[in-house]
Symmetry: C2
Subunit: 491 residues, 2 copies
């Protein structure tokens, strides 16, 4: 079973980094902070994309594509946005290289300096609202419900595969509405869509809530979020949806004629999830033996490994395997037959454990005699022998069970790592010793939030939307508090 993986107990962070690389998900590239997403990791991301895209379209959205580059001046147009986004970013200043005169290679051609620098998009509100100005004249042009799948760049000093990289892949929805109410409903809807996807497809439970003012997206009036809890007790923001008010419409002068004929500014939302979800997926389910994938997101849901000593045995085993494979495929189950003769069964068992394939089937000469096959679950390591005629229906059930089991386990972990506290002493102790979500009363001021952050490194992950709303007094200042909020250390 030795994968030479650091255990989670030893060093969670090291375990994560090793797992991402050993399971062939991603690796660092020759470009600082930029990752290569390897085929196995990308296959998982593609499955996420496909389901999210389906959900976006089902809720009336369409895709489009906007430029990678944004003129520097666009960022200055929305005052709070510029501070949030126009700082640590990749700046294109020239558009040509030339051979160095001294023959030393290629150098930037100083004659090809751009009049205005271009920023590689860190997020696309500015370029999109500059475009929406041309698309919106009347209430008939609204709403615009547009999504874009794209790469974005934020210059990060400390990076980690999937969790924080200079370039990452994401989708960004940007919608325009005639009324405030409709825009708020849209922002809330997309938070629910994200939560639905993350819980039911990724088997990662999340808390829905809103951010405090100081944790809001730059330019937003309200930021809705979904927060997940990792195995090490740290929170991870899995998706955000922003109600942007009329800020971008005012900055880019996007007005529409109402039915009554008056001119009004358009209301906006934006919302996004990114390859960071890969990090959430890995850190929620995986164990010391490697990746654990929920069946909904496993590129191979089932792998069949043949056990044989000679050609004749392989043929007998292959016959059974092929019949199972075609039956599984009819049911839409993704199955792989690994009959490579370059690797031994033990090596393959290890490999698929590391890669998180939910169900492994082993078939050997003894199985052929008895008419059985061996099934092994990745999540529980449970093994059963089953008659080969029953294997397809058993696998259908198993895949559902595994999907559910992963969610239940994650829910149980979150429950056992969510603590309600009433004093700041208790708070500090829990944050330091146990971790997880801590539910506590807070007086609603930036000052107290800041002080807690400085003293404990815990931040307010969200003001939950569905938690109990009983009032109390702030654990730090004793001032009145309308409701508990959720604190945690976070990724």
């Amino acid at each position: 079973m030795a994968k030479n993986l650091t255990t989670r107990e030893e060093d969670y962070s090291k375990w994560y980094n090793e797992l991402v690389i050993k399971a062939d998900l991603a690796e660092n590239s020759g470009v600082r902070g930029c990752m290569v997403i390897k085929p196995y990791g990308f296959a998982i991301w593609e499955m996420m994309q496909k389901e999210l895209d389906r959900m976006f379209k089902e809720t009336g959205h369409v895709n489009a594509y906007f430029p990678l580059f944004i003129p520097k001046s666009y960022f200055s147009k929305e005052a709070s946005h510029v501070d949030g986004f126009a700082k640590e970013c990749a700046v294109v200043t020239h558009y040509r290289l030339k051979n160095a005169e001294d023959g030393s290679g290629i150098v930037v051609d100083e004659d090809a300096k751009l009049e205005e620098e271009l920023i590689v998009r860190p997020t696309s509100e500015t370029i999109i609202w500059d475009t929406y100005r041309k698309w919106v004249q009347s209430y008939r042009d609204l709403p615009l419900l547009i999504n874009q799948w794209a790469n974005v760049v934020r210059w990060e000093m400390r990076t980690r595969l999937f969790l924080r990289t200079t370039e990452f892949l994401w989708q960004e929805g940007h919608t325009a509405h005639a009324t405030k109410k409709e825009a708020i409903a849209e922002a809330e809807q997309m938070m629910h869509v994200y939560a639905d996807f993350v819980e039911n497809f990724m088997a990662v439970p999340v808390i829905k809530g809103v951010k405090t003012e100081s944790e809001r997206f730059a330019g937003a009036l309200e930021t809705y979020c979904i927060e997940a809890l990792m195995q090490d007790g740290k929170a991870l923001q899995a998706g955000t949806s922003h109600f942007l008010g009329q800020n971008f419409a005012k900055a880019f002068d996007v007005k529409f004629a109402t039915k009554e004929g008056s001119q009004e500014y358009v209301w906006a939302t934006s919302w996004g999830v990114s390859t960071r979800l890969m990090g959430a997926l890995i850190m929620t389910h995986s164990d010391d033996n490697g990746l654990v994938l929920p069946p909904n997101l496993a590129p191979d849901q089932v792998v069949i490994v043949p056990i044989y000593r000679n050609e004749e045995q392989l043929e007998a085993v292959s016959e059974v395997a092929n019949s199972i494979i075609s039956d599984l495929r009819v049911k839409g189950i993704r199955v792989k037959f690994d009959n490579r003769d370059t690797h031994k069964p033990g090596w393959k068992f290890n490999e698929y454990e590391l890669k998180g394939v939910p169900v492994r089937i082993a078939i050997g000469p003894k199985d052929i005699e008895k008419g059985t096959v061996e099934l092994a679950r990745r999540d529980t390591f449970e093994k059963i022998f089953i008659e080969k005629d029953k294997v397809v229906s058993k696998i259908e059930t198993l895949l559902e069970e595994i999907q559910e089991n992963l969610l239940s386990k994650a829910l149980a972990h979150r429950a056992s790592h969510t603590t309600e506290v009433d004093t700041y002493e208790e708070f500090k102790k829990v944050i330091k010793e146990k971790g997880g979500f801590v539910s506590a009363h807070w007086d609603g001021t930036k000052e107290t939030e800041e002080r807690i952050k400085n003293e404990t490194k815990a931040t307010i992950r969200c003001i939950p939307l569905d938690a109990n709303t009983s009032s109390g007094s702030c654990m730090v200042t004793g001032k009145p508090s309308e409701r508990r909020v959720l604190f945690a250390k976070a990724y």
Copy 2:
């Protein structure tokens, strides 16, 4: 019928530009040379992507993702590649902006200058082969059959929507093989995959061939291509597939241990198609009334427009429409019901003609009485009345017919615009007056190719793979020629 479109006869180029904008396919952005792909245009591109992706996977390829940025020094490693690609490109020199000290806005922070400039990828051979070095040790690691869907940037001085833009979307396949033979077979296979897609899905006929040395991709030993002919008699390169030999393996030191234990350099291919295909699609089929879409690529294959004077009539019409819609959807046909009361039927007819929807159904009170509906074909403008019970099977047939008709029309156009010539005088006359493909003998030298290009603006589009190979003598120099090659002016 007036769309206020310039006609093709008047000004083909202007017609194209207007059509792209009026049909809501794409538009120029505030960033020089970068386009916005609008939802309707993007929906078509998505359908192209989906089918191509399916074909790539069916031929054993997987997707991955490599960094947007490439360190400048990577380009210097493959000598011919640097001249082809590292010149007109976007150069990132800084990673931070700051507030100007004089309060005039934001400026580049000179303290955040990169040690080595980063190039926004114009194509990814260098960064990918730098990665493959880590992935390939033994023959067991080969072949690598990897594709990437990505945005790329080539700094173009003169741009046109879809045809030549500074940023464009594409896919780039990059494969690594143990033998020369296998790499050549892969490069040829992908040319065939492209031709299959473009002809059978886009209804755009193409000639398969190889490029002459001077038209080859920078770094390739052989460039396979597919060439299409537009309505104005100009050729358009629709896709290329390159056999790269061991050039990139040598440049990035990618070796593998053979079965016999020796160390050898890996053999490479790369292949790509881009949003340029949108240009080919538009220019092949569309007419003076707007876009004409082959049913395989029409976001809406059928649109239903209700004709009514009062609420009661609309209800009766809607009932028939909804029943047709559900029957069509069962068959997998994409249908839209435009029952907006903000626009008149005539306006809608016009709109869907402009947008190229293959089949329009109109249903009015008289149809209800007679139990019929009116069908109109976008490609021929033919209209028929048909009993409503027969409409679904008729539409199934019609969509196939339209798909075939568009291909036949394009084939006929190409046939009538392909001319075999034997003298240079004739050649110059045809290129100048008639345009199209000109098939002629050429002596195989760069000098003659260059002279023809300078004197006529026609280039050798390809040395066709399946044309007749009878020998002759060069139309310019009279020297011996093994076979005719295909010339044209090109996009």
